[in-house]
Amino acid sequence: MSALIEFQGFNKFFGEAQVLKGIDLSVQSGEVVVILGPSGCGKSTLLRCLNGLEAAHSGSLRFAGNELLDKRTDWRQVRQDIGMVFQSYHLFPHMSVLDNILLGPLKVQKRDTREAREQAQKLLERVGLADKRDAFPRQLSGGQQQRIAIVRSLCMNPQVMLFDEVTAALDPEMVKEVLEVIQGLARDGMTLLIVTHEMAFARAVADRVVFMEAGRILEHNTPEAFFTNPQTARAQQFLEKFSFVSTLPKKIKELEPI
């Protein structure tokens, strides 16, 4: 089976600084790949290149057999096939929830209004927000807004979904409701590329974990192998930092009498 997404020797510069260095990564259809790594390692940039929000520099990036570095790439078409969800949701604040969701299907894909509405309704029910259809983004919690943002992407019927630290801006209470939605997509066999700092989630949802640092992929592994027995010292170090908090000794100190 050929890969749906394939990076080969992929490079990206911001000015003089090279932020992605010789990336080789292929993602099969239906696979869930989680990209981990410290801040600034280039993992978000990698996703953004796939969506044409950042221009690539050199190397090769193929999607469904087409070379995206080709000048003739029709990014509007690619973006309909590759959905993207952002850290800060970026819902359109001047539109109702339903209008947010239908903008792409109606104006870009020119679909039938009734059919698109029905799909939007189904997706809203699926994420448990059918009653918010006519609300405006500012009336919703962060977790609700993020679930709507996911629906907005899904309603375009993409082949792949990219999640760029989608829970990083959320209160801990709301992280769960968003992760459950993503987990549901994974279960349905959707192809997902996920950048996250939620380690337990990464372990639960990933078919494969990619560990990046300083613009390079250092490690490719199954989640079990990566989390129990990382191959590189850098990955070990990275994981230790995340387990630091959970393994802190409890504070043992008598309360002083008032």
Binding site: R79, F86, S88, L91, H94, G104, V108, M156
Partner: protein, 219 residues
Amino acid sequence: MASSGLELLWVSLPQLGKGAAQTLLISLLSIAFSTLGGVLYGVLRTLGNRLVNVVLRVYLELFRAIPVLVWLYLLFFGLPIFFGLSIPSFWCAVLVLSLWGASEVGEVVRGALYSLPRGQREAGLSIGLSGPQLYGYVLLPQALKRMTPPTINVYTRIIKTSSLAVLIGVVDVIKVGQQIIERTYESVLIYGALFLFFFFICYPLSAASKVLERRWAQA
């Protein structure tokens, strides 16, 4: 004296009205062209094309640095001399006021678009919107709230500045007033009437701008 003053005003009204209509027509046309040109300018400035930006910056600075009056003289007297092209004074006034107004409105539009979170553009692009769709459905509607109050202020300035048109021979409300004064020497009365005319046109506009600004600042 008071009764004869009011009488004079009364008999002058049709004449003043004609001048006022001329002033308002110049203002309205200039406001319309300024708005269209300003939106175009604002959008073009946010596209990030270097050549377009340079050209528009030069245009902006020319209209910022050179007084409107000089532009009026330059086009009204200069065009016939240098290009053999003469425009009626009415249209010359509309042209200069529109170009000047468009640079002012344009900067407002640019600022409003620029102040939107970058994520709005990216979210719009990520669902496959084209450039015009992105501006039409996502960016400009959001910028509208930010740009309306300052744009109304530009409108009042266009209305006030239209009075300069008298200097290239447009018979506007000021010119008519001057003609009446030449005949009757009632300068206080006539200029008082002009004062009220401009005040009652411009004050509601700037009041509306304030109200909108306050209302939308809370939203």
